[in-house]
């Protein structure tokens, strides 16, 4: 017992009381979680992230299954980046996207995770490990999760290409994004990203005002229009950025856009109220519109999807009992309940096979395999989403995740891009 590390003396650890701390240190060195099962009830982990996966239901279930408290704070992507980069002591667990990780990791505010402590590591989908969904897949453009998923050691600052055993983020959820449309108001086939700037939808289109994601949607559109041929949409040159924004500024001035949205709720309201008939959108927003009885389709497009992935990272200040609790939480996260919960909202979980245990056969068939629903498909809150016979937009997991054209990304010319994006918004 000489080599145990002293937990950092923080206000919280002091408050927990000396007895608890001593037991905790003992337990973590012995690696016997059962011993500290008593103290873990006092642990509170503070998690923050984007609204998509920061759900109170998860916090409740953690309390039930694991016994400790999980406090959730939901913020928008910019605020998440800001907090992860500047306030490492304000959180224990950061639920961030991989492109945010690329920005935040070099600040050293997060610690890498030892995959030997992750029970289901081997079952994590290939996208997050070697970048390939199947051995034949090609890796899409942009910040592919595996490229920022591994580092050299617990304090590693550099990303490494191979599976090093030290993960920056444990993948939690991901999805393939495309355009959302109102089929009832459009009344014809939509098959390409270029339709976003089709003058037919003047005053009825929208794009999201989060520069790093918006620029990708814009690039998908410009490429589909045949206006620009990109070297790498995930890492554009200054000229490519300028050209892309010029096309969008022109469209904006011509009144193409009804509004820009920044939060999930805004996108739902724009679509449900009919202000907008075609816009960049996130999968659960489609579900939210549909659950209001308004037809809305997550339209698969021939150019493919713009994909994103999120994961949870640990604050560098986590140690001792809290760090153990965090690993416990990660293992629980990958164990299927959360996966099932999220998959029934249209996301994918990092370990689909465990999620399957928490979904009915019909739900699994509908959400994952792209099969027609046998009966009513309900969301995790019990609301009917789809009637029997419905098929998921875009089909199966393989069809959707196999058609990813680009990952959300941070570019080398990020600052230039942000400035151009601000000009576009102000134009």
């Amino acid at each position: 017992m000489t080599d145990f590390h002293t937990p950092k003396l923080s206000r919280r650890s002091v408050l927990k009381g000396a007895a608890a701390t001593v037991t905790a240190v003992g337990a973590s060195t012995l690696g016997a979680p059962m011993i500290w099962a008593q103290n873990i009830k006092d642990v509170t982990l503070r998690q923050f992230g984007t609204g998509v996966s920061n759900l109170n239901e998860v916090g409740k279930k953690v309390k039930e299954d694991l016994g400790f408290n999980l406090e959730m704070t939901a913020l928008d992507s910019d605020a998440v980046t800001q907090r992860a980069a500047t306030q490492p002591d304000s959180f224990d667990i950061a639920d961030i996207e991989y492109w945010i990780c690329k920005k935040v990791w070099p600040t050293g505010n997060l610690q890498a995770m030892d995959v030997s402590k992750i029970k289901n590591y081997d079952k994590i989908v290939g996208i997050f490990r070697d970048g390939k969904l199947t051995p034949e897949s090609t890796i899409a453009q942009g910040t592919a999760p595996h490229s920022v998923g591994f580092t050299t050691g617990v304090d590693g600052k550099e990303f490494v290409a191979e599976e090093s055993g030290w993960m920056t983020l444990i993948p939690t959820i991901y999805n393939a994004d495309t355009l959302g449309i109102r089929p009832d108001l459009i009344g014809r086939e939509i098959s390409t990203w270029a339709e976003l700037l089709n003058p037919e939808f003047a005053g009825k289109a929208s794009i999201l005002d989060i520069s790093s994601i918006g620029i990708m949607d814009a690039a998908m559109v410009c490429e589909a229009m045949g206006e620009i041929a990109y070297g790498d949409k995930g890492n554009m040159t200054k000229e490519e950025i300028d050209k892309t924004m010029a096309i969008f500024t022109e469209a904006k001035k011509a009144g193409q856009f009804r509004a820009f949205w920044k939060t999930f709720d805004e996108s739902v309201n724009l679509m449900a109220s009919g202000e907008v008939v075609i816009q960049s959108m996130w999968s659960p927003a489609i579900t939210a519109v549909r659950s209001q009885g308004v037809p809305c389709v997550y339209q698969p497009l021939k150019e493919g999807y713009r994909s994103w992935g999120g994961g949870i990272g640990l604050s560098k200040s986590l140690s001792g009992l809290e760090l153990d609790a965090a690993y416990e939480y990660i293992n629980w996260y990958l164990d299927g309940w959360v996966g099932g919960f999220l998959m029934r909202q249209g996301y994918y979980s990092a370990v689909p096979e465990t999620s399957k245990n928490f979904m009915s056969e019909d739900e699994w068939g509908f959400w994952f395999e792209g099969k027609p629903a046998q009966g009513d498909i309900t969301n995790p809150f019990g609301k009917v989403m789809e009637k029997a016979g419905a098929v998921r937009d875009g089909g199966s997991f393989q069809d959707r995740m196999g058609a990813v054209a680009c990952w959300n990304a941070v570019m080398d010319e990020n600052q230039h891009m942000v400035r151009k994006w601000n000009e576009f918004i102000a134009a």
């Binding site: 910019d78 605020a79 980046t81 800001q82 920005k103 600040t107 509004a259 920044k262 009919g274 134009a427």
Partner: protein, 287 residues
């Protein structure tokens, strides 16, 4: 010691010092900090102390800055015009048409009822009202006034200014009403006795005497509109920008020095406007 305390100068300083300390801590120091940071440098996620003019150079070198400042002035001027006319009319009605004090107080309180909910809620509630399929459009269509929904009602300069006027008119009503109540009624009677018409009384007696109230209200409205960012973002559907949004975008992207530089320029502009306004009326003398 006793003699020292008796000294009028010293006791005067000591009486003033609590306020001075509060103002220095919570007003002067933060602003000084903003000015200092505006010369710092920034990388993508950190800021470092330096003495650079980069932030200002970029700010003054970008055409976006000028168009955004122009936009901000436009909102401020138009909102000021509307709130002044509406605020003055309401205050005039309350002060001179409503005779009983009870009713004056009751009606005045009525004006403040919207303030029982938050600013943001009052603003957002316009969105479903003005939308393409909103209450305003569907009512106009059912009356046969229009055939097609009016697109410009929402997510336009119109909706931004509407929200501003709605949110800030009370800031005009209150000070104007306040000064109007202090006007000696015999002055108005004297004006009538001397044969002044209603309009002449208004322009030669009431308006000059309410100038301080108008000025205070104007300062409120102008500073509020110039410093706003959330109303512009929501009511324009993120399509228009004002200086406040420029700053909030910078902060969101962790570009604090650049945000500070913009804030310094905005602050100077607003102070300049207030200085000009105060040239017209010596508030201290008139109050």
């Amino acid at each position: 010691m006793r003699n020292l305390l008796k000294n009028r100068n010293v006791s005067g300083w000591m009486l003033a010092s609590p306020l001075a300390v509060v103002l220095v801590c919570f007003l002067v120091l933060p602003i000084a900090m903003i000015i200092v940071v505006s010369f710092w440098g920034a990388t993508e996620f950190s800021i470092y102390p330096a003495f650079l003019f980069d932030n200002y150079a970029f700010l003054f070198g970008s055409p976006v800055t000028y168009s955004v400042f122009f936009n901000t002035f436009k909102y401020a001027v138009i909102t000021w015009g509307f709130t002044l006319v509406i605020g003055f009319t309401v205050a005039y009605f309350l002060a001179f048409h409503v005779r009983s004090l009870t009713w004056q107080i009751a009606l005045f309180l009525l004006c403040t009822i919207p303030f029982w909910t938050s600013n943001i809620i009052r603003m957002i509630s316009w969105i479903p009202f003005l939308g393409r399929n909103g209450l305003a459009n569907s009512t106009l269509i059912s009356w046969g006034v229009i055939d097609e929904p009016l697109e410009w009602l929402l997510f336009s300069d119109f909706s931004v200014i509407l929200a501003f006027v709605h949110l800030y008119t009370l800031f005009m009503v209150v000070p104007i009403f306040n000064t109007m109540m202090r006007i000696d009624r015999s002055l108005i009677e004297a004006a009538y006795d001397n044969g002044a018409s209603g309009l002449q009384t208004l322009t030669n007696v009431i308006i000059p005497l309410t100038k301080p109230g108008i000025m205070i209200g104007s300062i409120f409205v102008v500073t509020l509109v110039m410093g706003d960012f959330i109303t512009v973002r929501f009511m324009s559907g993120s399509q228009s920008a004002n200086v406040g949004r420029l700053i909030s975008n910078d902060i969101a992207l962790l570009q604090y020095p650049s945000a500070a530089a913009t804030a310094v320029v905005l602050l100077s502009t607003v102070l300049l406007i207030i200085a000009v306004l105060l040239r017209f009326v010596d508030i201290r003398k008139e109050l």
